[in-house]
Amino acid sequence: MELARERRKPATNGSWITGTPSMTFHSILYDRSAPAVADMGATPECIRDLNIDQIIDAIVRGREEYDLAPFFLMPLATMEAVGYRHEVMRDLQEGAVLECVAEFADAMRSTRKILAHSAKLRTHQQTRLFLDAVRAYDAAVVRLCEKLERSSAKSAGLRAFCAFLAAYVQSEQFRARTSASGALLRELDAIRYSVRIKENTVTVGRYEDRPDYSDEVARTFEKFNQGEVRDYLVAGRDSIEMNHVEERILALVARLFPATFAKLTEFEEHHRSFVDATVTRFDREIQFYLAYLEYMNEFAASGLSFCYPHVSTDGGDSAVRDTFDAALAKRLRDAGREVVVNDFALTGGERVLIVSGPNQGGKSTFARTFGQVHHFASIGCPVAGSAARIALFDRIFTHFEREERVESLRSKLEDDLLRMRDILRDASERSIVILNEIFASTTRSDAYWLGRQMLAKILRIGARCVCVTFLNELAHGDDRIVNMVSTVVADNPAVRTFKVVRRAAGEPSYAATLAEKHRLTHDLVKARIRS
C-alpha cells in the first residue's frame, strides 16, 4: 500500500534560528531524510486493542507538559529515521549523557516556573525573578553544551545539537547577557541587611558580619551528637510571594542599596525574550527518549529486557526472543507476580501465526505482544525482548472481540464480517493483521468455514497475520502458516505456563534435574561460594 506522507508544521510551531549554518539544528527526533510528521500507522482502534494506549500512558506519565503522546503514535518510514533514534537512545543509555540531559530538562523546567512566577509579582521581586530565570536558563545551556562536548555521545543527532549549542553559547548576544547577569547577581548577593523586631517596630539597616547565635548554641551541645537526628526546622512557606511586611522590608532594603536595584530594572528591559526556539524544541523532543528509557528501566529491575531491533523495510522476516506484553507485564509487576516471556518468528515465507490452546493461557497476550513489538520498533524504540529482527509495516489492523453495541441493528456476526471486509480492503502485503477470537459469536462449523475464508484472503494479500482462535484445526498443510499453542504444565493440565510455543514441551523433573536447576551440584556450589 502506498505510504501517504504529508509534510506539516512541527507540533511545537517553533521558528528556529536560521543564521549561520552552524547555528541551525533540525530535530533530535527526525533525521533529514524523514518527514517531520508521518501518517498514523496504527488505527486508534488498534492502539486500544493492543493496549498500546496503556503503554504510552505509562511512558508519558509525569511528563504531561511536553505532550509526548503524538511522538509515540507516529511511525517512521525509513531505516535511516529509525537508526537516527536508535543512535540517540543508545547515547542516552550512557549514564553521563543521560545525566546531563536530565539535568538540563530540570533546569528548563525551573526556568519556566520562575518566569511564570515573575509575571505575577511586583517590582523588586518581579525584576529579580526575571534575573533568576535568565541565570538558570543560561547556566543550563552552558552546562549541557560543556557536558555533551565532553561526553561519549556519538549519535548524529546529539553531535549536531552539540555543535548548535557551541555556536549559540559563543554568540555575542549570549556572552554579553551572561556576564551582565553575573555581575548583577554578585552585587545582590553581597547585600546583607539587618532586621530587628521589638514589639510592633521593625528596623532595617545595613549589617556587618556577626557570629550566628544558632551556631553557638549548636556548638555547645555538639559533643552529644550520636548521628543524625530529627529535623526540627519549621519550613517557611514555599511560596516565593511576600506578605506586606516583607514587601515593606524589601522596599527599605532597596532604599539602602538604590544603585543595585536600578540595575536590576534595567536588566529586564534589555533582555525580554531570551529563550531560543531550537533549545525549546530540543527540550521537548529529548523527553521522548528520557520517558522511554525510564520506562524500560522499570522492567530491568524485574529481569525483563528490551533490545534494539534490527529493522528492515522489506515487509519480510520478524523474529523476537524473550518478548512480553509490556502493558500486562507492568500490571503483573505492580502486583508482584512473575512475567512469562515468549518467542515468535515469521521467517522465510511464513506469513501467518495461528495461536490456539486452552483459555486463559496467554493467547491474546501473545497476539498483543506481536503488535506492540512491531509498533514500538516502527517509532524507533527498543522493543521488549532479548533479540529482535523486525520488518516495518504500513498499517496494523486489529479485530478484537467487542462488547455488543446496543444501538447497533446489525448482528454480531454481520458486524464482524463488515469489519473484516474493511480490513481486507485496506491491507497490503506490508500490513499486519491481528485477529483475536474471530467469529466467536457463531457456530463452530461456521466459524471454521469463515476462518478458512479469511485466512485464504489474507494469504492472497500477503499481509502478516496473527490469528488467535479456539479452532485448533483451523489451518494445516501450508508452509506459510505456523501453528502455535499456549501450554500447560505437563503433569498438571490445570496450571497454565503462559508459554506459547511452536510445539508442546514439558518433561518430568527429577531430583537431579531439580538440583541442577537450583545450581546445587557439587561443582556449582563450589563455584558459587568462590565467586
Binding site: 529579580r128 521593625v202 528596623t203 544558632s214 553557638e216 549548636a218 529535623d231 516565593i240 506578605n243 557439587h522
Partner: protein
C-alpha cells in the same frame, strides 16, 4: 569531641545492621533463640533487641571478643552498679515521649524553642547526676571499656561546661526582642536568616548596624493591623527558626546520647540476667576461648542447650566434643535421641562466644566462624506452591548464596523429603561442595545412605557422631563418637507409642 560509651566495641558505637540476611529468621527459629533472648531481656524490650542483634551480628576479631569478655567480667563483679547506671539512662529517656510531641504538625519555631528549653533544663539535671555517678563508682571498674566511659563522663561534663549550658538556656527566652540578619535570595526574598545575640551593655543600633553609623529605616505595624501582626510573628519565627532547630536537635542529641548509653549497657544487663537465670537452673556457664579460623578448633566439655535448660528450669544432658580440624561433623542415630538438641547447643555456643558472652558449657574452645546458617527440614506448608523438596532446594540455594569460607552451616534432616537415594546424592553434592570451600558443616540425619557415602570415602576431615542407645533400646540423649548404624529406630518409637504407652520417654 563527641561523647561515646564504646562498651561494645573499642573503637565504634554498637549499631543495628540496616540489612539483615534473609536466612537469619530461619536460624533464629531453628536454634530456638527466643528462649535465650527472653531470658536475657527479662521483660526489657531494649535488652531483647540489643541481645538479638549482638547474637546475630557476631564478632570474628579475637581482640574484639576479648574486649567484651573483659567488660562482661567487670559487669559481673559490679552487677549492682551496672544495673544502677542502666536505670539512670532509662530515667533520662522518659523525656523522650515529651520530646516526640515537638515534632508534631502545627508547631511554630517559637513553640519548638519554648518547649526545647524546658526539656533541656530537665536533661541538664540528668547529666549532673550521671557525672556524680561516675565520680563515685569509677574506681571499682578495671576493664578498658568501663574505665574509658567513666573518664569521659568526668572530663566532658565538668562544672564549667554545665554552667555554660545553663546560661544559654536563660538567654534563649528572648526577653529583649529578636535581632536577625538576612540576604536576598531568589525573588529577593530574605534567606540565610541568622540570629544574633543582644548583649545588654551595648547600644543595640550601634551593634547591629556597625560602628560606621550607617543609615537604618524603621516602620511600625499599627495595633489594629491583624494581618501585619501575623506577618511580624512569622518574620520573628524565621529569625529564630534555626536556633529553635539547633536547640531541639541538641535536645535530641542528648537524648540519643542517653539512648546510646542504654543500648551499650543493655547487652551487659542481658548477660547478667541470663547468667542469674542459668545459675538458678543449676546450669554452668564458662568464658569460652575463641581461636582464629585457621586453627580449626572446635572442642568442648559439658556442652548443653541453654534454651532447653531455661525452658525446663533445670540442668540438662551435657556432651563433650572433640572436632578440632574437622570440616564436617556428621551426627547419625536414633530419632529423638538428642541429635537436634546437640546441634542447637553447638550453634548457640558459637553465637554466644562470638558476641562476647559466656557459653553454656563447662569448657568451650572454638575457631570463630563467619556466620551461622541452618537448614532444617520443614513441616509441610499448605500455602507453598512448589513441592516440599523443591522448597528445601530453594532454601539451600539461598544459603549457598550467603555463605563464605569459614561459615558454619547446621543441617538437620535436610533433603529427606525425597527418596533416600536421591536425597543422599544431593546432600552429598551440596555438603562436599560446602566443605571443599572451607565452610564448616554439622549434619544431623537419621538416614544411613548419606552417612555411608562419607564413610566409604574415608575423608579425615569428617567426624562421625552417634546418638547413644543402650542395649535395651532406651536413649540416653548423649551424643558420642561412633559410626552410623544401618538400622532405623523409627520402629522403636512406633512400638513405644502404640504397644507400651506407659513407658513413654521424655527428653531430658
Amino acid at each position: 569531641m563527641t561523647l561515646k560509651a564504646h562498651l561494645m566495641y573499642a573503637d565504634r558505637d554498637f549499631s543495628f545492621r540496616s540489612v539483615v540476611p534473609i536466612t537469619e529468621g530461619e536460624v533464629a527459629a531453628d536454634l530456638e533463640r527466643d528462649a535465650l533472648v527472653s531470658a536475657m531481656a527479662a521483660g526489657d524490650p531494649v535488652v531483647a533487641e540489643v541481645a538479638t542483634e549482638a547474637l546475630w551480628n557476631g564478632l570474628t576479631d579475637l581482640a574484639a571478643i576479648r574486649y567484651r569478655q573483659a567488660a562482661l567480667g567487670d559487669a559481673v563483679a559490679n552487677s549492682a552498679a551496672v544495673r544502677e547506671l542502666y536505670e539512670l539512662a532509662v530515667e533520662a529517656l522518659e523525656a523522650e515521649r515529651r520530646a516526640f510531641l515537638l515534632g508534631l504538625v502545627g508547631r511554630t519555631p517559637g513553640s519548638v524553642l519554648f518547649r526545647a528549653v524546658e526539656l533541656l533544663e530537665l536533661l541538664e539535671e540528668r547529666l549532673r547526676r550521671l557525672r556524680a555517678f561516675a565520680d563515685k563508682n569509677a574506681a571499682r571498674f578495671g576493664s578498658v571499656a568501663f574505665t574509658n566511659l567513666f573518664d569521659m563522663l568526668r572530663r566532658e561534663l565538668g562544672d564549667d561546661y554545665l554552667g555554660i549550658v545553663r546560661e544559654h538556656l536563660g538567654d534563649l527566652r528572648f526577653t529583649d526582642g529578636v535581632l536577625s540578619s538576612a540576604r536576598l535570595g531568589p525573588g529577593n526574598k530574605g534567606v540565610d536568616y541568622e540570629l544574633h545575640r543582644i548583649v545588654q551593655s551595648e547600644g543595640w543600633l550601634r551593634r547591629a548596624f556597625g560602628a560606621r553609623g550607617q543609615q537604618a529605616y524603621s516602620f511600625r505595624i499599627p495595633d489594629q493591623d491583624e494581618g501585619g501582626a501575623r506577618a511580624l510573628a512569622a518574620l520573628k519565627d524565621r529569625g529564630i527558626a534555626r536556633v529553635a532547630d539547633a536547640l531541639a536537635r541538641s535536645m535530641d542529641h542528648i537524648l540519643s546520647f542517653f539512648k546510646m548509653l542504654r543500648t551499650e549497657l543493655a547487652f551487659y544487663v542481658g548477660c547478667l540476667n541470663i547468667r542469674e537465670a542459668l545459675a538458678a537452673a543449676g546450669a554452668p556457664a564458662c568464658t569460652p576461648t575463641p581461636c582464629s579460623a585457621a586453627d580449626a578448633k572446635r572442642n568442648a566439655t559439658g556442652l548443653y542447650d541453654p534454651s532447653l535448660a531455661l525452658t525446663l528450669g533445670r540442668s540438662v544432658v551435657r556432651n563433650d566434643l572433640a572436632a578440632d580440624g574437622k570440616a564436617l561433623v556428621l551426627v547419625t542415630g536414633a530419632n529423638r535421641g538428642g541429635k537436634s538438641t546437640f546441634l542447637r547447643s553447638l550453634g548457640l555456643a558459637q553465637l554466644m562466644m562470638q558476641c562476647g558472652m559466656f557459653v553454656a558449657a563447662e569448657r568451650f574452645e572454638a575457631s570463630v566462624c563467619r556466620g551461622v546458617f541452618t537448614h532444617y527440614k520443614r513441616q509441610e506448608d499448605p500455602t507453598m506452591q512448589s513441592g516440599k523438596f523443591d522448597e528445601e532446594l530453594v532454601r539451600m540455594s539461598a544459603i549457598v548464596d550467603a555463605v563464605v569460607p569459614g561459615s558454619l552451616v547446621l543441617l538437620n534432616e535436610s533433603f529427606a523429603a525425597t527418596d533416600e537415594r536421591e536425597g543422599a546424592e544431593i546432600a552429598h553434592q551440596v555438603v562436599t561442595g560446602l566443605i571443599d570451600c572451607g565452610v564448616i558443616a554439622c549434619f544431623v540425619t537419621h538416614q544411613y545412605e548419606l552417612a555411608e557415602r562419607f564413610m566409604t570415602e574415608g575423608r579425615t576431615d569428617v567426624l562421625f557422631l552417634l546418638a547413644e542407645r543402650r542395649d535395651d533400646g532406651s536413649r540416653t540423649f548423649r551424643i558420642k563418637p561412633g559410626r552410623p548404624l544401618e538400622t532405623s529406630y523409627g520402629k522403636d518409637i512406633y512400638d513405644r507409642i502404640f504397644d507400651d504407652a506407659g513407658a513413654t520417654t521424655v527428653p531430658p
